[in-house]
């Protein structure tokens, strides 16, 4: 989306001229086409079927029949209410409850129907192009490709369509549709007091975004800024501390003369293999004010008062970052181990002859190589950490809270965990949707900016 915004005006102009061209072609095809083509404007695939291209023809026909009947029997009752999201209130008849319109389902299936209608139009356009192509082939005196060849092409020149059909459909229904849905929710008043099916919700325009930008006491605005800042700081430390410490551990294990390399690695890798909900929940208990660490430190007389690992905001943040190092080092260690072996040994040899110290070698050979190669990985790690739900949720659940923060946000809440609380605890879906859009914008902007700064993107041949 951000990439599309980058396109300049000529892009917009291109879109319009494209639409114009399409309309012109639809017109000329109709005027110049034979009757089979003209019937295809109503009954999709009619032309190809008449010309013997059954496979293509019936595919169009089935799609048309399927979409139209789905909308007729099921989709229309939602689609027709999409602009109001329902008007019939839930009512009581005696002791019985008669449910009215369900705004949620109207929005969800209304959107689905809308998308299907768009798909139908696109198919219709393809169907016209198909007719035109066939007519031109026949006019030129050539033969149409047979059904068998059509079918076999699905495993050869059109193999991509075979491979991608199901995945694309799955992503569409289970990722794209929900995201469009939630973007729409950001423009409605869907919250605890407008809860379907017993209450209706409706479109409210930009109201929710205005609420996010309200900076009064307990306004969402100031909380959003504070949570966002911590999210950025957290992602920075979580990414780079892990990165450098992980590399250090890898170098340490790879050091010449160190034995049992496999053992050390295996010990570290345990953290990856043990499910986080087990290890993190245990760690959470361990660091609690009445947990093992405090108890033993006090027993041994090292401290006199329990260290408030989770209840002091600053300390809680530091503890989370430290525990995240515990989680992150093994991954980086694995990656670094693999990559370190790729660095040509003679680079080090010649550096050694020039009298370089180990630090200089690290600084001038190892680090630049690693940064170059793992640049994209670091970026995905950073954006991943921006949305690192598990660590925060399992360790602090975002706490400690403060009166200074709105929407139940805590001092260690990331935008995603805050989002989760707003969704599940407050059922304030509209604000959750707004914050979700904000999270997206933050992630996308950072990714875009950093991506363009990466050395491996600027200079693809650098180290090859």
């Amino acid at each position: 989306m951000a990439a599309e915004n980058n396109k300049n005006k000529s892009g917009v102009a291109a879109v319009f001229s494209g639409i114009g061209k399409n309309i012109a072609e639809i017109g000329t095809t109709f005027i110049e086409g034979d009757w089979k083509t003209r019937v295809s404007y109503l009954i999709m695939g009619f032309g190809p079927i008449c010309r013997g291209a059954f496979l293509r023809g019936f595919m169009y026909l089935f799609c048309q029949a399927g979409i139209i009947s789905w909308i007729y029997f099921y989709g229309w009752k939602y689609l027709s209410k999409l602009n109001s999201l329902g008007t019939v209130e839930t009512a009581k008849v005696g002791r019985k409850t008669v449910y009215g319109d369900d705004s949620f389902l109207i929005l969800l299936f209304g959107l689905l129907s809308l998308i299907l209608v768009i798909a139908l139009i696109a198919l219709w356009r393809m169907n016209i192009a198909e007719n035109r192509k066939e007519e031109q082939i026949l006019k030129a005196g050539k033969k149409l490709p047979g059904n068998k060849r059509d079918f076999l092409s699905l495993f050869d020149s059109n193999f991509d369509k075979t491979l991608l059909a199901l995945p694309v459909l799955g992503i569409f229904v289970f990722t794209v549709l929900p995201i469009i849905f939630m973007i729409c929710v950001a423009f409605t008043n869907y919250d605890a007091t407008h809860q379907s099916p017993s209450k209706l919700f409706t479109w409210v325009g930009m109201d929710n975004f205005k609420e996010l930008l309200s900076f009064g006491p307990n306004g969402f605005g100031s909380t959003f800024v504070s949570v966002l800042l911590w999210t950025l700081v957290w992602a920075f430390f979580a990414t780079f501390l892990d990165y450098f410490l992980g590399m250090a551990v890898a170098i340490l294990i790879n050091k010449k003369g160190i034995r049992f390399k496999k053992l050390w690695r295996t010990i570290l890798v345990m953290t990856i293999a043990v499910p986080q909900f087990v290890s993190l929940l245990y760690l959470m208990k361990m660091f609690a004010k009445d947990g093992l660490i405090n108890t033993y430190l006090m027993k041994w007389g090292w401290i006199h008062e329990a260290i408030p690992f989770w209840t002091n905001p600053m300390l809680a943040r530091i503890t989370i970052i430290v525990i995240n190092i515990w989680i992150g080092i093994p991954y980086l260690m694995l990656i670094a181990t693999g990559l370190l072996m790729n660095i040509p040994e003679d680079l080090y040899e010649s550096a050694k002859i020039d009298g370089a110290t180990p630090w200089q070698m690290f600084r001038h050979i190892t680090l630049p190589y690693m940064l170059f190669v793992t640049g994209p990985y670091l970026l995905t790690q950073y954006t991943g950490n921006l949305n690192n739900f598990n660590v925060i949720f399992l360790l602090t659940q975002g706490g400690p809270k403060s009166m200074a923060l709105a929407g139940g946000a805590g001092r260690t809440d990331l935008l995603v965990t805050w989002l989760y609380k707003i969704t599940l605890n407050d059922t304030n879906y509209k604000m959750a949707a707004v914050i979700g859009i904000m999270v997206f914008i933050v992630t996308a902007v950072i990714s875009l900016v950093v991506y363009n700064m990466l050395p491996s993107v600027k200079d693809e041949e650098g180290f090859q």
């Binding site: 549709l177 909900f277 949720f393």
Partner: protein, 292 residues
């Protein structure tokens, strides 16, 4: 290393360096193993003689198998949760691998209209926080009857439906297989599908195992969405949902040691599998790191 300049002082220096390195490594190992040792020890704490909640000491006063007996006895639904999780993990792992391989091959080898758009679009989609979609997914699954009692197939469906978006690592791997091989085969008249099944796949064992392994491990940690879809139907829980409740919900007083025992049993298969296939995991991760 042929080091004929090495003197005794150099040797000494290296020995000291190594000693420090060993000390650091041992310290690291202790820190990394401590929580697991703690978990295992707690799981063997006697439920009968010591209280099952949190305690302030590390080593149990009395060891016993009480907690394991409890979770395996059928008094709780633990075995059912375990079975659910295994089923989900196996199916997700299988289908996700197939889908990722298909998508990666298409994106790596085929050139078609909208290819770069598709890749960019999926990249952007991945930046939307997943929770937003959760409620919507719940109602979609509900429309298909795949919530509550049907939560297990529902979770499998959601687990595999969007897996195509995770093509980066695998595509990166396919990119490293020389295209000239494909072209030679095509000149010999092999179809794309044939090349994919008979040439590319056999050469991709590490990445297949990597993809399957990562996909297999994910369902063991799925708490949020799994609890949402199961919706209070406790025979549909997975281990993460079931066990997390034992720690978080006040209804389960004294279940802490049982949680530890359950956690150990969850960790065992995943750890064993991971240890055996670690080599492939490294190849996958590093391959992915290089290609981005």
């Amino acid at each position: 290393m042929a080091n004929n300049t090495s003197t005794s002082s150099m040797k000494q220096k290296r020995a000291v360096g190594n000693a420090i390195a060993y000390l650091v490594l041992i310290a690291i190992s202790v820190v990394w193993l401590f929580p697991f040792v703690g978990l295992v020890l707690q799981s063997f704490r006697s439920y009968a003689t010591e209280y099952g909640g949190m305690v302030e000491y590390f080593i149990p006063k009395q060891f016993s198998l009480d907690n394991y007996k409890f979770i395996l006895s059928g008094e709780s639904n633990y075995l059912l949760w375990y079975r659910n999780t295994v089923i989900i993990a196996v199916f997700v792992s299988l289908f996700q691998t197939i889908i990722v391989l298909c998508v990666s091959y298409a994106l790596s080898r085929m050139r078609f209209k909208g290819r770069t758009f598709l890749m960019r679009f999926w990249l952007i989609l991945g930046m939307f926080p997943g929770f937003l979609a959760m409620i919507c997914l719940y109602f979609l699954l509900k429309a298909l009857g795949l919530t509550q009692a049907g939560a297990v197939p529902g979770l499998i469906l959601v687990g595999i439906a969007s897996s195509g978006m995770g093509y980066y690592v695998c595509k990166g791997y396919f990119d490293t297989i020389p295209k000239s091989l494909d072209e030679a085969a095509r000149i010999d008249g092999a179809s794309r599908a044939r090349i994919f099944f008979t040439m590319t796949l056999p050469m991709s064992k590490p990445i297949i195992i990597y993809t399957a392994l990562v996909a297999f491990m994910a369902p063991w940690c799925d708490y949020v969405f799994a609890s949402y879809v199961a919706f209070g139907h406790d025979t549909s829980y997975n281990v993460a949902v079931g066990l997390t409740r034992w720690v978080w919900t006040n209804d389960y007083q004294g279940f802490f040691t049982r949680f530890c025992a359950g956690g150990v049993l969850v960790a065992i298969p995943v750890v064993i599998l991971f240890m055996c296939l670690q080599r492939y995991y490294v190849e996958g991760v590093t391959g992915g790191a290089v290609k981005g």
